[in-house]
């Protein structure tokens, strides 16, 4: 079937499929740039998806649904923020426990709304649709979430690179002690970043139940996405562009796995559904491993290797995962 997919359709599908993941991964990038890792992403995605769907169904308003999803995300951000920034507990421990809690909470509270039809955000045509060639017509007909995701990439890049607040945030993630010495308040900055990031993750989760995989159920279909999001942030080097490209790569794997089924009739369909996940993680691991090797071997003469190294080499915000204690 992949041969049936024309290129524009493929591009359109990848864009649509990657939008929620881009929003989720960028939200987490925001949080991690300030030094706090939110390991509960998998649960938060499900929880906010559920909250968004329930609210949208009850109020018949997609806008309120998305907002509810964001708030649900922010709620988990409050917990992560308080436990790790204020109580200095292990971010990994809190994140993991919260992940399971949110997932089960989503299933439990969402139970009455399982397999029910609800409002869904459909693809909309761009204003100048009629003037476009047919291939672009296909590509550019997307739900609003796609445009939001693209906007977010630019916005976050601009925020990190050109704004003073972004600079302060990055400095806290690198060296909270030095930021403190310069008069900044690391704790406050980190909490804001975590809350904002978690809100975005919530919007991303809402994008699943209200747009990409409309509806709720047990399972919903967005299971495992949160983990991919975390992997994307790390292996995408905390850079909005690379993270987004990674998300699109994953979406491509998902889209093409449906197509590949026909090419390999011997392999059961379920394998194709799960395959993108390990493939993605191991692609990222291999990339990481090979660039690490190159970096270790010092300056390589090969220009191509140097370029690849610079593109993929990433360094975590130095203070990531460690809670800063003021002297």
């Amino acid at each position: 079937m992949i041969c049936d997919l024309s290129l524009p359709v493929l591009i359109a599908s990848v864009l649509a499929a990657s939008a929620p993941l881009i929003i989720i991964a960028l939200g987490e990038t925001l949080s991690e740039k300030s030094g706090v890792i939110n390991l509960s992403l998998d649960g938060v995605v499900l929880f906010s998806a559920m909250a968004a769907f329930v609210v949208a169904k009850e109020t018949d308003s997609l806008l309120l649904g998305f907002f509810a999803g964001g708030c649900a995300g922010m709620l988990t951000g409050i917990i992560i923020g308080y436990f790790s920034i204020y109580l200095h507990l292990s971010q990994v421990a809190v994140g993991f426990a919260l992940s399971l809690l949110c997932r089960d909470l989503a299933y439990f509270l969402g139970n009455p709304y399982s397999r029910i039809q609800g409002p869904a955000l459909l693809a909309t045509k761009v204003p100048f649709y009629d003037a476009l060639p047919s291939s672009l017509q296909i590509i550019l007909t997307q739900p609003l979430t796609v445009w939001f995701a693209i906007f977010l990439i630019f916005a976050l890049y601009y925020f990190f690179t050109f704004t003073r607040t972004g600079l302060c945030l990055r400095s806290v993630g690198e060296n909270p002690a030095a930021s403190f010495a310069r008069g900044l308040n690391p704790g406050k900055i980190q909490l804001t970043a975590v809350l904002a990031g978690a809100f975005l993750v919530g919007i991303g989760g809402a994008a699943y139940s209200l747009s990409f995989k409309p509806g709720w159920g047990h399972p919903q279909g967005a299971e495992g996405i949160g983990w991919i999001g975390l992997a994307l942030v790390i292996f995408g080097g905390w850079n909005p562009w690379r993270v987004a490209i990674g998300a699109m790569l994953f979406a491509f794997l998902q889209v093409s796995s449906i197509g590949l089924q026909d090419l390999f009739p011997g392999i059961p369909a379920q394998v194709f559904q799960t395959a993108p996940f390990p493939l993605m993680i191991f692609t990222l691991i291999i990339l990481h491993y090979s660039t690490r090797k190159n970096a270790k071997q010092g300056n390589s003469k090969n220009k191509f290797q140097q370029f690849i190294g610079r593109v993929f080499m990433s360094r975590a915000p130095k203070a990531l995962g460690r809670s800063y204690r003021q002297e």
Partner: protein, 487 residues
């Protein structure tokens, strides 16, 4: 800004870090603050920059008493410090590091200020380069410019010439003089007497937490050295020189980077039975030397040959070193050699070489009790190592030392011990261990080095600047070598 320290004292529990320190630094002067390790210089500066509170005395700034309760308050008053380790943000650019903490928001204006200040001082800084690609000297330059831009009136420099090239020094010194001419007060904390002499108009010497000397330019070095290190002690009965045997340790052209400066171009041979004292100021390379021999640090270049076999250049080096009966006791006992929540008995269990059949933990309780008595450790076998006081931790480490060791490496062996305990330690090392055991030790106390070593290596800036038998050198010569003065 005129700063006056009046009778400042600081104690940490029962330890007196500073006693009755009084010092005045006037506007437009460069005032040097010198002293050996542990003299109290950094404590005094931490008080001035608001990181630490004082226990007594007053600080008067421009005629008014100043409350310096936090770094922010100090910064508001115009006090800025250039740290030895740059406190900056490495992946960010020069311009970004310069701008952070500055109320000015306009990027263009900040860029222009940066370029103006840089050219005024003769620094060449590319505003958009990532700081991690710069040398320490350049990172320092950015920090200096930032402090100036933030209207610092009192600038404290902590060992500013560590890790910068001679060319960068040529740029820095005039810049500092320039700043002083503008009315800024500069406090220069340094070990390097020659540099202090070039830059400062007056110098205060600290030793063991008190002011031992204050003088104006021109300076007499022997006077300063005496104030820093104390007078030459009365000739105690020096221990007899030991018989030495075959070569056991050799470093060939070793270069290593740990600590701030690491070690450069180190070629040394040590023989069986020698007791070698490693002298030098903090971070000059003695620790790296000891760790290279212990196999904990891997040389970037060159080789370490222990008992005839070269140590491998990977993590297995420390295992080979231990297999060849080398023992190492670091200065940071709890952080690097002990386990805070594990009992004394279990420490002995961990050291145990024999294995019982089923891998069951041997109960070394009896051995532990014996060790406690022999080494006078104030504690019980069930105590956790973290419960012991510093001195007792040192005794524990000595008790854990393999008495059959052929090479014993000690970093500050008598640190934190009172005189009697210190003497006991040396009695153990010299008399209870075999006379064929080679002992390499580092110490900040020149008296200890002179008294117990047969041979002395003096480290300065990562190089060995003096390698003499103890009888061929003197207190003054060692002190001079430590501060980088060539004879």
């Amino acid at each position: 800004m005129d700063v006056e320290f009046q009778h400042i004292s600081k104690n940490f529990g029962s330890v007196n870090a500073l006693t009755d320190v009084s010092l005045t630094a006037n506007s437009g002067t460069i005032h040097g603050l010198i002293g050996e390790n542990g003299a109290g210089k950094s404590t005094l500066m931490k008080i001035l920059t608001g990181y630490q509170s004082k226990s007594g005395g007053t600080i008067v700034i421009n005629g008014r008493e100043a409350r310096l309760n936090s770094p922010k308050e100090a910064a508001v008053l115009g006090i800025g410090m250039l740290y030895q380790e740059p406190m900056d943000f490495t992946p960010l650019t020069v311009l970004e590091n310069f701008s952070l903490g500055n109320p000015e928001r306009n990027r263009k204006k900040l860029r222009l200020s940066l370029q103006a200040l840089a050219s005024r001082f003769g620094f060449h800084l590319a505003p958009d380069r990532a700081v991690e690609l710069l040398t320490v000297g350049e990172r320092q330059q950015i920090e200096l410019l930032r402090l100036i831009h933030c209207k610092t009136r009192l600038l404290i420099l902590d060992e500013p010439t560590t890790g910068i090239s001679p060319a960068q020094k040529k740029t820095l010194f005039p810049a500092l003089k320039h700043l002083a001419a503008d009315g800024i007060t500069i406090l220069l904390v340094s070990h390097k007497l020659e540099e202090v002499a070039t830059l400062c108009s007056e110098v205060t010497v600290l030793r063991h937490g008190s002011v031992t000397h204050h003088t104006n330019a021109p300076f007499h070095f022997p006077e300063l050295l005496k104030a820093m290190f104390g007078s030459v002690p009365k000739q105690k009965d020096k221990e007899a020189q030991r018989e030495t045997g075959a070569q056991i340790l050799q470093m060939q052209n070793v270069e290593a980077s740990s600590e701030r400066l690491g070690l450069k171009q180190c070629t040394v041979k040590c023989a069986e039975g020698e007791i070698i004292g490693l002298a030098g100021l903090d971070g000059a390379g003695q620790s790296t030397f000891l760790r290279l021999a212990a196999g904990l640090t891997i040389p970037d270049r060159g080789s370490v040959i222990l008992f005839g076999k070269e140590l491998p250049k990977n993590i297995k080096a420390c295992l080979q070193s231990q297999r060849q009966q080398t023992s190492f006791i670091p200065a940071d006992r709890l952080e690097e050699a002990l386990f805070a929540d594990i009992s004394l008995t279990d420490h002995f269990n961990l050291k145990e070489k024999q294995h019982s059949f089923l891998g069951i933990r041997n109960n070394n309780r009896v051995q532990t009790e014996k060790a406690i008595t022999t080494f006078s450790i104030k504690g019980e076998p069930d105590y956790a190592a973290g419960d012991l006081s510093g001195g007792n931790q040192q005794r524990l480490l000595l008790a854990l030392l393999d008495p059959e060791s052929r090479l014993v490496l000690l970093e500050n062996p008598t640190r934190g011990l009172d005189i009697r305990s210190g003497q006991w330690v040396w009695d153990y090392l010299r008399n209870k261990l075999s006379p064929q055991t080679t002992i390499l030790f580092s110490s900040p106390e020149l008296d200890e080095i002179l008294h117990f070593s047969d041979r002395i290596l003096v480290f300065h800036n990562g190089l060995i600047v003096l390698d003499r038998a103890v009888t061929d050198t003197s207190h003054a010569a060692i002190a001079a070598a430590m501060t980088g003065m060539t004879e």
